[in-house]
Symmetry: C2
Subunit: 466 residues, 2 copies
């Protein structure tokens, strides 16, 4: 622990961590190096210093995450299925209705993630797979998840993903039928401007898609009712009419009317960044000229440019301070005894270690200094957005908001940030449902535990998953 | 797909699936072979034919799962932490209260699993980790999960696990303090006899443990209030008095008064199986003579022997049929129009592919044949337990219950089984929260969709996670 004891640490060490076999030599593979180069171009385009400590290894981390997240291109359904088909008699030893011939087998609530082909952001989904065994054999339950994951670990669209999983299982296990239902959640896609203008942004765009083969091919078949009845208990409405195709327009927020406009000015200014994303897509084994991927580089760069390095004055110009809502009567604080609080100010940010979004809420509490004017909600929201829309870590975001609010209010401030991090859900870690909370305290909130406790008890419970 | 097309399949193929690097040569390592041999002894002790199709590869699967589940013995905290410490200024650039110096950072709701050192069954837990940065550096968020996983992937007890994670993080990142709270769930531990006698078995035993270092060392420190306030929103009561040590007696059900008695007769009869489990423990890199592990082989064998291969008459002797509750007045069915149903009959079973428990509920519906006597709940529960307490797959269990009920009732039967499978939570798959549903239908339930729908709508929603 010598190096650590001295307060030094060497990020190069990350390379020495043993990599698993798939990644042996991973660091030197041309695809990895190409992605690293491309990520450097993107970081420079954001105005970042690529040698800054926090992001020095970001190109490697992004390459590792992207290749891990798209490893399904190299995987084979047959390898997974063949060793795991088990003989199992059916009812009546023939065309019965259970066991190895007839009765539906359903695995529900498999948490998985995929990469959106329209914008290159990960999306998460709950996968429900059912099949009706035939030929007196059943598949090991975990293989349903592993086969779904082969197709999830690609650049995907929900409906195609469902269709591919369904078709692969149908060909792999030759059952009487396969049904796949996916509940997908895609992070919302605001930009700095729309985040300010529309304070009611939903965090997630949802899509429900289904695919069926064999007995499930006809979507009005009675067997769908059986299948959906057993999913109803998992939070899905059993009404078949609720399952409909999700069109590209209604799914990825980058394709919605307001987001899809990418000015030619923006395109030409960021030509180098767009070319870098094309190179990334190619390095993942995809064809950048595939129809669905044609606009993806521009859309990804547009999203990324929301997090351009910039200073407070420039970013807030025309937005927040212009609409700062001072209390109507110019009221000033006459007492330091009351905690003012603004809860659930939403934010979007981009993890600088992985170039992946994190998203959540900020809670701010303060004692107003006597004679000062209580601060308006929209100013606090502006400060939150300003520090959110850049490459960040949540710890720094929390401190920066606290410092800025304290500089305006002169003292006693508490800031709590709660967020879900895409980098905890995708990549190798896959900790669905986890969330991160950080706290910064100044003045009386640092010295008085009761003040902290009073504020924290007022924070409502929020969930951050899709 | 030739072999599959012909209805053949070769379980040997499983060996050809590419293994990851850690496992290269895994199949030939002496530890793997020793575990495989031991598992064969266990299977024979259960009265199974080790060459039966479904369990032929079980010794290999068990060895793979156990070694995967205990790989933490070979992992190093330093390797994980060192590459992921990032410089981050604190408030006031010094002993401030946020950022890289001062403010608590908490990662909540990490789903992990571990192996119970008292009984060798996996248990799952939600892990909440917090620390207060110092030295102007913060740890990459995912590393909190990865460090916890190093200690989870061992034979563990909740309190030691919490202490080890806390201590490792404290030494690894030198923060001002570390807090760890674990919400653990251990599968209940009934045997055939107690399952019959006590129909109100809870599925899970819960334990809540905490560990703290530095600022968190004093369990009455105000900072625990801050930490628990932010966990309260995750379903933990913030009252410190709720977090108490869990003693061995109150945790693993195999140590509870009624389970702990292992007769010397049982011990001597199963000497070979007990020796096999000792060999497994040694092959995992543990010392079978470590105090906490001394009784583990006997306890594991006692649990396993619940699933001994036996025939219906022998198993039910003295239990169910003796207490079969015919309707009091000897009532017989006069109409075929009414669906009789028994919902939520609990069961415990053992997955024959992985020697891991699965646990859930069975729902049975039937039309009584005119002139027949409606079947009593306790008889149905007996049938469910009989087919549960053996090496099983859920598909077969469903079919067998349907066939047996139908043979008694002469016809129209539907059986729905819903279960959580330990083999979907532990091993490499780690699909926390997933569950499996299977259906068997006979007679009118096979031909009339409306009969199925009516029955399935009466099934209440259940969750199967810990």
């Amino acid at each position: 622990m010598g190096a650590l004891d001295e307060g030094h640490f060497n990020v190069q060490l990350e390379n020495r961590v043993k990599l698993s076999c798939v990644e042996l030599g991973f660091e030197r593979e041309p695809e990895t190096l190409a992605i690293e180069d491309a990520v450097k171009v993107l970081l420079q385009g954001l105005g970042e210093d690529v040698n800054r400590e926090g992001i020095k290894k970001t190109p490697f981390r992004v390459a590792k995450a992207l290749r891990e997240g798209t490893k399904g291109y190299k995987k084979n359904v047959k390898d997974i299925v063949q060793g795991a088909l088990f003989p199992e008699a059916g009812l009546d030893n023939g065309i019965g209705h259970a066991g190895g011939a007839g009765g539906i087998v359903i695995v529900r609530d498999l948490d998985l993630f995929s990469y959106c082909e329209s914008c290159l952001l990960p999306f998460q989904f709950k996968c429900h797979v059912g099949y009706v065994p035939s030929g007196q054999r059943v598949l090991g339950l975990s293989k349903l998840s592993r086969v779904a994951d082969i197709f999830a670990k690609r650049l995907q669209h929900p409906q195609r993903l469902a269709d591919e999983v369904c078709s692969a299982l149908h060909h792999g296990i030759k059952p009487a039928g396969v049904a796949v239902v996916l509940q997908c959640s895609h992070l919302h896609f605001p930009n700095l401007e729309s985040a300010f203008l529309d304070t009611n942004h939903q965090g997630w765009v949802k899509a429900l898609v289904a695919s069926g083969s064999g007995l499930f091919e006809n979507e009005n078949a009675d067997i769908w009712t059986d299948f959906l009845s057993l999913l109803r208990f998992r939070g899905i409405n059993g009404d078949k009419t609720h399952i409909k195709d999700c069109t590209e327009q209604s799914w990825c927020p980058s394709l919605s009317a307001s987001s899809a406009k990418i000015s030619s000015k923006l395109e030409s200014a960021n030509q180098g960044m767009i070319a870098a994303v094309v190179s990334i897509i190619r390095s993942l084994g995809e064809d950048p000229l595939r129809e669905e991927l044609l606009g993806t580089p521009s859309r990804f760069v547009k999203w990324l440019m929301n997090f351009q390095n910039a200073n407070l004055e420039m970013m807030l110009n025309g937005f927040a301070f212009g609409r700062m809502d001072l209390k109507p009567n110019g009221e000033v604080c006459r007492s330091k005894e009351q905690i003012h609080s603004e809860l659930n100010l939403s934010f979007w940010s981009q993890c600088e270690h992985h170039l992946l979004p994190f998203h959540g809420v900020v809670h701010i509490g303060y004692y107003c200094v006597e004679g000062f004017t209580p601060i308006g909600k929209s100013l606090l929201q502006s400060i939150v957005h300003f520090y959110g829309f850049k490459l960040q870590v949540q710890e720094r975001l929390t401190r920066q908001i606290a410092e800025t609010v304290s500089s305006i209010l002169g003292g006693d401030v508490i800031v709590v940030v709660e967020a879900g991090h895409t980098c905890m859900i995708s990549r190798g870690i896959e900790k669905f449902g986890s969330s991160t909370a950080t706290i910064a305290v100044l003045g009386r909130f640092a010295t008085e535990p009761s003040a902290r406790a009073m504020f924290m008890q007022s924070i409502p419970k929020t969930t951050f998953g899709g």
